[in-house]
């Protein structure tokens, strides 16, 4: 059954205005715990979210932030509960890179005692929030536990010559998800697909959007899924077809349907990060390939396809000379008109300490680093981050630089020296193009 009515439900948010003072520790933890429980999170997950919040609060309350006002937001993302510690009045020093008051880290110094890292072990995602308008903060995300389903069997579907593409109702969506896991091998779809009810909640939350192809009744013959990354990139998954011959055009119809929904949004690029063999010809370009490390340590190529949704206006980007050969090669291959401006470095004074953001995804065992602002000891701090992330068992470590910022572009030689390789350019994914590096080891 299809419906044109949006399944999306708005976030529910609780807010607590308090202070980074241990006197308010219990109050804040009760707020987090009670909010999570009220949002339907089970006891075990609630406890883990509380433990992460305890570490984070303690860490911040013992830092330079001590005594400062903090706004704590707990919000229900349907499939997860998020907690944000927002530091609008904070000075621009969030101690993510190194403990406060200790100055620059010395090479070899152990980061394992960092409160934020400990906090991250209890949750699925931890990220530094940095917005020039809203201020700074740290976000924790703990996904809810969902019942898994037994490996479903393929339900044969007759080949449809006539079909309808539209948004599914919840039960149709869950059926589609089960069928995807029956028809396609693991790795062809997001791990969330092991939990159909979770996907339904993720669609309700707006994290994913989905179109399915049906015969107008109960037969679901295929579908495609996508989500928004930032404001300018759409990430697609699929298309997934169940026993449908290519000549019936269902794959094209699903991609056309997706495009129809997103072409008049802010998004500029559409990437397909879980392409299937059914990806229709002529719709996408090969953006490049990352590596995905499986739990057994085997690394397999991870091709990513893309198409632009708008005419590329051409643009200027900053680049360190060491990165120029990669950029020229990729820009030429992708026919992207870019004016590359070199960042030779002028010997000007730089702040002592950089600020890195680290987004940890324990489900995917991946970590993504990003430089928020520059500092002279960036190489040493980066090295410490790598050491910590490897010790924590993260299998894939990425670093992204936004070529809109010369200070980010200037980090390229440091990244390359420390074992990163430039892998992909995501056009317009940041303020300008974003280059994704992957850690390959020394």
């Amino acid at each position: 059954m299809l419906t044109e009515i949006s399944l999306e439900r708005p976030h529910r948010t609780n807010r607590l205005a308090t202070y980074l003072d241990m006197s308010f520790f219990s109050l804040t933890m009760s707020f987090v715990e009670e909010s999570a429980a009220a949002f339907g999170m089970e006891a075990g997950d609630t406890t883990r979210l509380r433990l992460a919040s305890e570490e984070l609060f303690t860490y911040l309350a013992e830092s330079d932030q001590k005594g400062n006002a903090v706004s704590v937001e707990a919000y229900d993302g349907w499939y997860y509960v998020g907690v944000k510690f927002l530091l609008k009045t904070a000075p621009p020093e969030i101690p993510i890179s190194h403990p406060p008051g200790k100055g620059a880290l010395e090479p070899g110094e152990d980061l394992a005692d960092m409160g934020l890292i400990i906090a991250s072990r209890f949750v699925d995602r931890l990220n530094v929030l940095h917005d020039s308008r809203s201020g700074y903060g740290v976000g924790l995300t703990k996904e809810k536990t969902y019942p898994g389903t037994e490996a479903p069997a393929k339900a044969p579907v007759r080949a449809l010559t006539q079909f309808r593409v539209g948004r599914p109702e919840t039960e149709t969506l869950k059926y589609f998800v089960r069928q995807v896991t029956a028809y396609y091998p693991a790795g062809s779809f997001p791990v969330d697909f092991s939990f159909p009810a979770k996907v339904a909640d993720m669609v309700a939350e707006g994290h994913y959007r989905v179109l399915v192809a049906t015969d107008g009744g109960a037969d679901v013959a295929g579908g495609i899924l996508w989500r928004t990354q930032g404001t300018r990139t759409i990430e697609a998954f699929g298309p997934y077809l169940f026993d449908q011959p290519p000549e019936h055009g269902m794959s094209e119809a699903l991609v056309d349907g997706l495009l129809g929904e997103v072409v008049r949004t802010e998004a500029i690029c559409l990437t397909d990060i879980y392409p299937t063999p059914e990806l229709p010809e002529g719709y996408f370009e090969l953006l490049g390939s990352m590596g995905h490390t499986k739990a057994d340590g085997h690394k397999e190529p991870w091709p990513i396809y893309y198409r632009q949704l708008k005419e590329d206006p051409g643009s200027s980007v900053w680049a360190h000379p060491d990165l120029v050969p990669f950029l020229r090669q990729e820009y030429d291959r992708l026919y992207l008109a870019r004016d590359i401006r070199l960042t030779p470095g002028g010997g000007e004074m730089r702040p002592a300490h950089p600020l890195f953001s680290v987004e940890l995804d324990r489900i995917q065992s991946s970590a993504t680093l990003h430089l928020i602002w520059d500092g002279a000891d960036a190489p040493a701090i980066l090295e410490q981050h790598l050491k910590m992330l490897k010790a924590e068992g993260f299998l894939d470590i990425f670093f992204t630089i936004d070529l809109a910022h010369a200070f980010e572009a200037n980090l390229a030689p440091v990244l390359i020296r420390q074992g990163f390789s430039p892998r992909l350019i995501f056009p317009h994914a940041g303020e300008a193009d974003i280059v994704a590096f992957q850690y390959e080891g020394q």
């Binding site: 708008k310 206006p313 026919y335």
Partner: protein, 370 residues
Amino acid sequence: MPYVNLAGLIPDYIKNFDPYIPSKPDPELMKLYGCDKLYRLNNNENPLGPPPTAREVIGRFEPPRSVLYPSGDSYYLRKRLAEKYALDPDQFLVGNGANEVIAFVIKAFCQEGDNIITADKTFAVYEWVASFSGFQARLVPLKDFGFDAAAMLDAVDERTKILFVCNPNNPTGTYWDEQGLRRFLTRINGSRIVVVDEAYCEFVESPDFPDGMRLIEEFPNLVVFRTFSKMYGLAGLRIGYLAGSPEVVDIIRRTCVVYSVNVLAQDAALAALSDDEHIVRTRALVKAEKAYLAAELASMGLMTQSGEGCFVMVRLPMNDTLAYRRLMSHGVMVRSMTGFRFPNWIRVSIGRHEAMEAFIGALGDILERT
């Protein structure tokens, strides 16, 4: 610097609206794409330029006149339009391009909760203006590349205020004949405003093509859009207009921004209207170059959609936004059609033969290397 709580100030329909980013000026594009010549075949401009009568007016424009405001309501132009179409001058409103008059109409009739109806694959500005004004744009899929009258009527509800029909349709070139348009207007029966955008009507030679101007008296809820940007080659001066019944135009006038049309545009448009030879010459060029394109594109095995108007749609075996970039590197600028919800199609404007040959050459090259 004070903190500005922008998030709290912006309506949701603005937050969710994607601003249109026009292309950079030609010298910038040529530098970026490394080409020494650029054929602009993306905006359906007239390759012959303005009619000689308008050129003459533009050429003798006296700079001191710039100091004075223009006629606030394009007085003489409306008078001339009234003579030409046997209507009253007050039945016309002139705007800074037809895009501006779209906004006049939507602002005049829509309020919170209302909707407009148009096609999903047509000129995007009806949808844009409705969306960024906070009104729902109900988009009815095209049927066989044409507006689907029955489906549009089915989409009408009690909050529908305006139905927009692009006739002939940009980008497909299909059109409703007079019988079809009359049938639609009869079914609406005066209950809603029906806008018929005739931006490309001067290119149509078919005898069954309806002249909206002649239907206004019979259907007082009909509003007709016309422009000087296409056939009359005055796109750079931005001037277009609407016509309707006196009662309807009187309402729309309340949302009309006066003095938005500059004096040179008014003078040039007035002069252009008297040059029918220009239309004949342009039609001949368009006809000849469309025939050339049809033959060349057929020989490449490409599907085309070419109806009325000074443009042709081409289905490519590749992503149209990639084709756009690759054609740009050959100095040819077309319109990629993903934004019109025609993925993998491009629309090419009819230009002079040299430009058409450049397009065919570049297209052949990129397809060969695909």
